[in-house]
């Protein structure tokens, strides 16, 4: 695929236009005046564009990381909707790091209120725009925000370009622009012009106000569009970061201190340098890089280097870490984001004629384990500039980190962001790009591709933290009257932001309690506390972040309460939700009907239900399991979700299914453990996932009732949180054994 640079160069040649990179539209300046948020940026037309028109068609700049979630297709469809181009004419590129590409979707993630309350508020686009200054540097993909942030921005870019093209045609014809029509990449009047013919003139024109089209006229948005990357990904022609290919390039790998964050006391490169094909061994302070004439030789040689590692600053093993996490319960809660009614008084009533139950749950550390191992390519040129190729979720931060590492100006760094072979939150850190830049600095003039071995990828990840939760609840007359949840875990947000931007954000840590405090259960007495543990293991954002743990805690415990109440677990949840949030309750009705919930109960089978509202989207899941001679099988799964506006139902379905598989994989197999301060699991045989025979069959229902109009929930993450509790609840139904610790393969025997 063409890179940003080659396409702009080609456009320039084709058009010969005075504007660098051809005709570029969409560099709108966002004003602070709420009444009229759009004014064109007269001096910024060639900068930060979203739309490039050349003889091949239309290229949309989709400045979000494409990790498989289909965001580039969805963002392109939003532009195409307003621009009146045929889908075959649309190409998409990631574009360079730039502040114009801030992610407005993060505005939705800046509140400490439960999502289900925030999404019901009427959403004014002005409110989004007013918050822009806060997030100007957030060209970042994460939090399931990509489509939300692009919803207005990308349509405006398309509409603005369309109006400019019409104005150019109007000028040629000497008529008013509103007498002209646009269709299939052409402006139609008494004469017809292709967009390519008009592009150079249109680039100089400033359209007036634009009105976005009425949703009832949409042709692309809301439909399952053929993904723009599908043919390339089915023919081996997609160019991932790991496929970067430059003339004369060398191949390298890294081996960093397995005691994370520890230094390197010394190393002996001799055994590696003695191997044929090895060019160089480079010390990196806390590890080494080996450069060779192919990646395999580099990896063999890296293993041969003798290294004396220093210690890390965290406990020696998993057990000691869990002790540290448990100790957090004795500290004052960091947060109490929900405290409805009087939990303590209600629990103090005791069982009376009902029951008071308590349970403790534990979840392990988890790795991202995307299919494409971490990698980056860097090239320090003779003029002192640096070119870097790295699939990353935060391009501006990554570019700046490379510049800082080499002590050069950020303007001297060109960063390309290729598509990623999976991310799941694991490509936020700039580390791969920075290490590649440092390797390149040791061999000026030669491009070098640095590829992590799977072992390095797994043992040098930034992990979803382990956590412990303690829950108490009271039941009376078959109903839940109180629930008090407490989660103890180190804070991902504080850990990661301290590392990434040098400071931890103030205020309570939402991440450690999300998925627990914010659910639409109308319990009269509902409290949720977060206790932040003091543990310095490297942590990162893992698909659905805190929801991935708290949904397991809360949804397992709600199940325990239902059983203690002698109630059907699905009906029990419905009772608690119906008056609190109707769209969520509707999803439980949907999965009940789709799965034939009542009929699922039969000898040899188990069924489990779970729910989680995260990233603006409620999701209910039912899972069926079967006892077979070979072990327990996951047979069928049903998902009902309500993202509000579903911009591409085909992609939503794929994301929901994939996210549930991801969650089930972790629930069955996933655990990162430590011994001697080092991660024990080194490759897929130790960190396995669901595969073809172990994956259930899926049925997905997508509803569009949630929130006020224009509400767009995330779709990449919300399918993950209910997966683990749905499975644990199904296993209870099947075996009568309550799983209170993950992964489940330690306690249950699954069919292979």
């Amino acid at each position: 695929m063409a890179s940003w640079k080659t396409i702009t160069r080609r456009s320039f040649l084709v058009l010969g236009a005075a504007v660098a990179g051809g005709a570029a539209f969409g560099a709108w300046k966002i004003a602070e005046v709420p009444a009229n948020p759009l004014v064109p940026g007269p001096d910024s037309v060639p900068l930060n564009p979203w739309v490039i028109i050349n003889a091949d068609g239309v290229t949309v700049i989709a400045p979000r990381a494409e990790m498989g979630q289909g965001i580039s297709t969805t963002l392109a469809a939003l532009v195409a909707e307003e621009l009146d181009v045929d889908w075959q004419q649309v190409r998409v590129l990631h574009g360079p790091p730039a502040q114009a590409y801030f992610n407005a979707g993060f505005v939705d993630r800046m509140s400490n209120e439960p999502d289900f309350i925030v999404s019901q508020r009427p959403k004014s686009h002005n409110a989004i725009l007013a918050a822009v200054p806060k997030i100007l540097s957030l060209q970042m993909t994460g939090g399931s925000t990509g489509a939300i942030g692009g919803f207005v921005q990308m349509r405006l870019a398309g509409a603005g370009a369309r109006e400019a093209l019409k104005a150019a045609a109007a000028k040629r014809l000497g008529v008013a622009p509103d007498t002209l029509k646009t269709e299939g990449g052409k402006v139609i009047g008494e004469k017809t012009f292709t967009y390519a013919e008009l592009a150079a003139e249109a680039a100089d024109l400033v359209p007036g106000d634009v009105t976005l089209r009425d949703p009832s006229t949409w042709r692309y948005v809301g439909k399952a569009m053929p993904r723009l990357d599908m043919v390339a990904k089915s023919t081996g022609t997609e160019v991932f970061g790991i496929d970067t290919w430059l003339p004369g390039m060398k191949f390298a790998t890294v081996r960093m201190n397995p005691r994370r964050g520890g230094a390197m006391k010394g190393f002996d490169p001799a055994p590696a340098l003695a191997m044929p094909g090895v060019a160089q061994v480079i010390g990196l302070g806390s590890g080494i890089a080996v450069v060779a004439d192919n990646t395999w030789t580099a990896m063999q040689a890296a293993e041969a280097v003798k290294i004396d590692w220093a210690e890390a600053d965290y406990p020696a093993d998993t057990e000691a870490m869990m002790t540290r996490i448990e100790a957090a319960f004795a500290t004052r809660p960091d947060s109490r984001m929900r405290d409805d009614g009087d939990v303590e008084a209600e629990l103090a009533k005791g069982p009376v004629s009902g029951a008071v139950i308590e349970a403790e749950y534990r979840v392990p550390f988890l790795a991202h384990a995307a299919m494409e191992p971490l990698n980056a390519t860097a090239w320090l040129k003779e003029d002192g500039s640096l070119e870097v190729w790295c699939g990353c979720q935060a391009p501006i931060m990554t570019r700046d980190a490379c510049a800082a590492a080499l002590r050069i100006d950020a303007e001297k760094v060109t960063l390309h962001v290729p598509v990623m072979g999976g991310g799941f939150g694991g490509r936020t850190d700039p580390v791969p790009a920075v290490l590649a830049a440092r390797v390149a600095a040791a061999m000026p003039g030669t491009p070098v591709k640095v590829t992590w071995s799977r072992e390095e990828d797994l043992t040098q990840d930034y992990y979803r933290p382990a956590a412990i939760a303690r829950l108490s609840g009271r039941i009376e007359g078959g109903k839940a009257t109180a629930l008090w949840g407490r989660t103890a875990t180190p804070s991902v947000t504080r850990n990661a932001l301290a590392r990434l931007v040098g400071f931890a954000p103030p205020g309570p840590d939402r991440g450690s309690v999300e998925g627990g405090f914010d659910q639409p259960y109308g319990l009269p007495n509902y409290r949720y506390d977060g206790h932040v543990a003091d543990l310095t293991v490297q942590l990162g954002f893992w698909r659905s972040v805190g929801n991935s743990m708290n949904a397991f805690f809360l949804e397992s415990f709600i199940d325990e309460m239902a059983h203690a109440a002698g109630a059907d677990p699905l009906a029990f949840r419905l009772d608690l939700m119906r008056d609190t949030h109707a769209p969520s309750a509707q999803l439980l009705e949907n999965v009940r009907e789709m799965s034939g919930w009542d009929g699922l109960k039969r000898p040899g089978y188990g069924r489990g239900v779970a729910f989680c509202y995260s990233f603006g989207t409620p999701v209910a899941e039912v899972l069926e399991v079967q006892q077979t001679d070979a072990g327990i099988r996951l047979t069928r799964a049903w998902i009902a979700c309500d993202p509000g506006l579903a911009m591409d139902p085909g992609i939503v379905e794929a994301q929901m299914t994939g996210a549930m598989v991801y969650g089930l994989s972790a629930a069955v197999h996933g655990a990162i453990t430590f011994a001697d301060q080092q991660v024990v699991e080194r490759n897929f045989p130790d960190y396995d996932a669901l595969r073809m025979p172990t994956t259930p069959a899926f049925e997905v229902a997508i509803l569009q009732n949630n929130g006020s109009f224009g509400h767009i929930g995330g779709v990449g993450e919300p399918g993950t949180p209910p997966a683990a509790p749905a499975l644990a609840n199904a296993l209870y139904d099947l075996t009568g054994i309550r799983a209170r610790e993950l992964p489940l393969n330690r306690q249950f025997s699954f069919a292979g």
């Binding site: 599908m230 089915s234 023919t235 022609t237 997609e238 004439d293 990646t295 395999w296 072979g421 025979p693």
Partner: protein, 154 residues
Amino acid sequence: MSITLQINGKPHEVDLPGEVPLLWALRDGLGMTGTKFGCGVAACGACTVLVDGEAVRSCQLPIGEVTGAITTIEGLGQPGNLAPIQAAWVRHQVAQCGYCQSGQIMQAAALLAANPEPTDQDIDAAMQGNLCRCGTYPRIRAAIHEAAAMMKAG
């Protein structure tokens, strides 16, 4: 010392020692990057190619030991000229990140060559070595069934 490999119907010379796995000869020696590296230990299937029609993990096969004709994803079909199995993949919109799909498609191609009408159980058995962290298995299964039907109809 250079070694000659028969890849996608043409001889290719690679200037690498015989112990280097085919995967890396393809990717780093020849710039054929459609075949992917996922684990290096035969645990993920991302590197799957065909050798004389059999699905093989190229990360485990030293080039000095290759005797047969190699087919990689580049040789199966191209963007303007899709093989039926690739057309089925596109129709079912299988790929998410797409990184595992070269290996999935090569594995499925070997299955269909040996077994033109695979059952779900046949698909389970043939595909279990191919990991997909994006969880595209249901669409892979559907695409294999459709490719089988297309190939049968000719």
